[in-house]
């Protein structure tokens, strides 16, 4: 019975949350192989959602001056400058030295392979994953976080009391408290827009369809096709992230096509919802309690002897 519920929630968390006749689960597929790093998603998100500035700091992290997903940045484009393509054993150690300039020849003619043109600049627009098993939602004591009919996870700003339990419950480090008001904020997958049949602001603004919005089932099919195409075209490093319903969060509502290991983009390689083990923990705690009680009884009975 419990197992059966679990499976249906994986397929359709909205139904699992009690929605009747819920629409299909909606989500994002972010294809980083076509991202051009324009940050239109960041700007469109801020404009639509009225998100305040996240600070005017030059971070020196390539062209990323946003830094991370925070209460004031619900989309974050990461820029990764890579001297060597993924899979190259020298990638991490070679650094800039592989350019080999100025000796003995022009760039691209020194060292192995084709030198300079192997340089990669990876760009990836990160966002709340809208997990199937959402830690933030599980731990929220006020009900401010809730599962929408679209299967997304949204904070209700008028209910949040700023306790911050959800912050430590998110395996991706997405949800965050705003310093000035103490409440938590994150991507709503534009709940107000999608409810009106519109596309979320970031996906709408994305010029290259790197951010795709739609029913999650469709997106997963599209993503699988895209990976296959890239593999055919000689991009073996293309892989999906967050698409697998059997991963530690039951699969993400917002998943990604990456061109390198997740860690390269600052993503956890094997995210686990911290509340996943709660039933077992409670079971074990129960067993332990029973054992204690039994022990006490035994002791008592023994004392009688």
């Amino acid at each position: 019975m419990v197992d059966g519920d679990d499976r249906s929630e994986r397929r359709d968390p909205a139904t699992g949350a009690g929605w009747v006749d819920a629409p299909p689960r909606m989500g994002f597929f972010t294809d980083t192989s076509v991202c051009i790093g324009c940050k239109a998603c960041e700007v469109a998100c801020k404009e639509w959602n009225g998100v305040p500035t996240s600070g005017l700091d030059l971070l020196g992290m390539s062209y990323d001056n946003t830094g991370a997903l925070t209460a004031n940045s619900w989309r974050h484009v990461a820029f990764i400058e890579q001297p060597r393509p993924a899979g190259d054993p020298e990638a991490s150690s070679a650094g800039s030295q592989f350019l080999g300039m100025p000796e003995p020849g022009p760039p691209g003619r020194t060292g192995s392979a084709e030198g300079r043109s192997d340089f990669r600049w990876l760009m990836m627009s990160d966002v709340c994953k809208h997990c199937t098993q959402a830690g933030c939602l599980d731990v929220c004591p006020t009900g401010a976080l809730f599962r929408t009919e679209f299967g997304t996870v949204v904070v209700q700003e008028d209910i949040c009391n700023g306790c911050g339990y959800c912050v430590s419950a998110c395996p991706y480090g997405v949800i965050d408290r705003r310093v000035d008001d103490g409440r938590v904020w994150k991507c709503t997958l534009c709940y107000d827009r999608i409810g009106a049949g519109l596309t979320p602001a970031c996906a709408q603004a994305c010029p290259t369809e790197s951010i795709q919005y739609g029913p999650l089932d469709e997106l997963r099919e599209r993503a699988a096709t895209r990976v296959a195409t890239l593999h055919e075209r000689g991009v073996p490093e293309a892989r999906l992230y967050g698409h697998d319903p059997d991963d530690g969060v039951g699969g993400d509502g917002a998943f990604f096509l990456l061109l390198d290991e997740p860690e390269v983009y600052g993503l956890p390689p094997d995210p686990q919802v911290p509340t996943r083990d709660l039933p077992n923990m409670w079971k074990r705690a129960g067993v332990a309690a029973l054992a204690m009680a039994a022990g006490a009884v035994v002791a008592f009975l023994g004392g009688k002897r």
């Binding site: 790093g37 700007v43 005017l56 020196g60 062209y63 350019l99 020849g105």
Partner: protein, 868 residues
Amino acid sequence: MAEAHPVGFQWVMEARKRGAKVFHVDPRFTRTSASADTYLPIRAGTDIALLGGVVNYILTNELDFREYVLAYTNAATIVSDDYVDAEDADGLFSGFDPATGAYVQDSWQYAGHERDSGSGHTAMDRETAAGLRHESHGAPISGQVERDETLQHPRCVYQILKRHFARYTPEMVERVCGLPQEKFLELARAWTQNSGRERTGCLIYSVGWTQHSVGVQYIRTGAIIQLLLGNVGRPGGGVLALRGHASIQGSTDIPTLFNLLPGYLPMPHHAQHPTFDDWVDAIRHPGQKGFWGNARAYAASLLKAYWGDAATPDNDFCYDYLPRLTGDHGTYQQVLDMIDGKIRGYFLLGQNPAVGSAHGRAQRLGMANLDWLVVRDLFMIESATFWQRGPEVATGEIVPQECRTEVFFLPAASHVEKEGTFTQTQRLLQWREKAVDPPGDARSELWFFYHLGRKLREKLAGSPLPRDRALLDLAWDYPTHGPHAEPDAEAVLREINGYDVATGRPLASFAEARDDGTTAVGCWIYAGVYADGVNQAARRRPGHEQDWVAAEWGWAWPANRRMLYNRASADPQGRPWSERKRYVWWDEAAGRWTGHDVPDFEVTKAPSYRPPEGASGPAALAGDDPFVMQSDGKGWLFAPSGVLDGPLPTHYEPAESPVRNSFYGQQGNPTRKTYRHPVNSINPSPPQEHSQVFPYVFTVSRLTEHHTAGGMSRTVAPLAELQPEMFVEVSPELAELAGLTHLGWAHLVSARAVIEAKVLVTDRLVPLRVDGRVIHQLWLPYHFGFEGLVTGDSANDLFGITLDPNVLIQESKIGTCDVRPGRRPTGPALLELVDDYRTRAGIVAGSVPSALTVDVPVERPGEAEGDR
């Protein structure tokens, strides 16, 4: 393109998804490089060496699309015996006049047409940026030309081209550009493979490509390649300029330029065009082939639109009211004139020269020496506050209490707060509605100019002075609406389109324009945009409801034609080159041209048509002459006139370069426009001494996150925070060499200025090996200034003023500099530092390096005197 045109870049990504191969050539690895299949790092300013290499690759391997080249270009045309190529004269073409530093073009002409270049002397053309008027048509050629269809004649264009680029080998490309030969060959192979009946390739550039002292010739070289490969006038081909703003194409069509009137009619010159007939004949060249023969009708109709009832055939349509050119009135000449106190007032609209123009200090000093300055902008930009907060205030050069300029700041409506059209790079006019009212006192440009004109006319009413007639006789009667009396933008569009004066009926095309005062046309090339009284620019039929050419989305000039010279998409017999590339073709049964687009050809002129002896105008073009705005109907591989700095592109080093020209003794463009002025010091380049004082090459461009001089992005938090500080990108090697640290400060020095920036050390920049030397390049964004939410020093302050001779565009993509760790000095110490550099570099105030670095061959007796 991804960096500066991310929205347009979606189509490149789409093409890539379908298997297109994308090459990106840039001095630094950008967001475009990241999305390209192959990235080619290049030394800034060596584009002609690279592209000339491609031309040489094509000709050496005979990879040109021969049938196209033979029929549609001037490859077979025989050039004058007098012509001497730059290859044979160490970098100078024949006809160079050292006295003026300009060419006499007689010897460049086709054989037998040596006198066709008019006066032949180009010094005056350079002063007035005459090349600009060729944006819509070529230079004149009269009568028939000599041809050799076998392309074997030693003086045919094909052979001249071959000889001219013979030394542009892959080895030379590597030596000059710092680009590995294999990468170059990969590019050359891929480009040439996209040629022929079945395939086309397209060349895209952004306007930074033009901002060089050889800028026009960069694009000429690209055009030569595209012509050789048959990639012009065919779907998927072309040389596409990505404009820097939403309607820059529109601002040359209906120009904000000193030397042009609407529709590329030249501004009359006081000496050359004293009468209406002189002016018109200079445009239409009586007896000339092609479509400019009707220029009299376009000119008369324009004046009729300006002066309405007052303009009659008897008074030459008030031609005498038109202002006249007296020489160079370009923006840089004006700034120097301001510094010298020759200009008293200035209107600045949608422009921020204090940040966006070359030599920011000259710009600010000029604007500080006016009686009045009107700035209309969305935000309080640097060009409005330079007198109060500019860098020259810190150095003591401008004292706010004493600055004589009275600045009027007028808030402007943004593009969503007013209606009107944008004309984009495809010449497509798209109407936009007003979404919201402008806030407060903000008004549209249309409102501003209409009411300014109205008030001036009110003030002058009753004036007996003849000089006031031009203003008082204007047809200035646009309908207005709303509480602020906003002029009706559609009424203006209707006037631009043109109408029959008697009935008011809008013209359907420019063919209806008359020279007898019966029609008024504001911009003849736009005739048809209001055909049938319908705003054709406002059409928005979705793409899925029409074919891929989408003729019912907006309106393209001329005549809603989406691709110019599309006659070339069919073979000489009028058949599509291939099914795959079918676009416009001759329908034999119907006896007319037809296809997906409006044919760019007389619609019933058969491919077999041959002009009769003595024909002129359009009738003189044969049925297989697709380049109908060219006087010989051909695409010009070789330009006998129209380009002032040579009939063929030639590699010259930028005005400031750390290396010697590897091809010729002539170092830079010998005809480049220079200004001798105490404010305009130019860093020395070889063969001059002391070039090592400024050992590094710097180049500037845009970031996706900001817009040009930053007035619309540094003022807006969601954009400003994405690139919050001025920085300079350097390679790890240069960082080590110059002692720079990541996120530390550096300052850059040129003979004009010193600016500071945070350092980003990145592998995206690489040192290049050029001619056996290592050349370091630095890159800076040019968006920063001292106003806005995020501020920083302006990169354009580093540049001097050196211009391309054809269109007077500034060389603002390349300069030389020194870079040092730490922050720049402030106050008087700043000036001392720059002074010190100038002294060390041997720079004398008020002088510029000689443009000529070779001896001029003696061609005609008497002209070699004063050869310096």
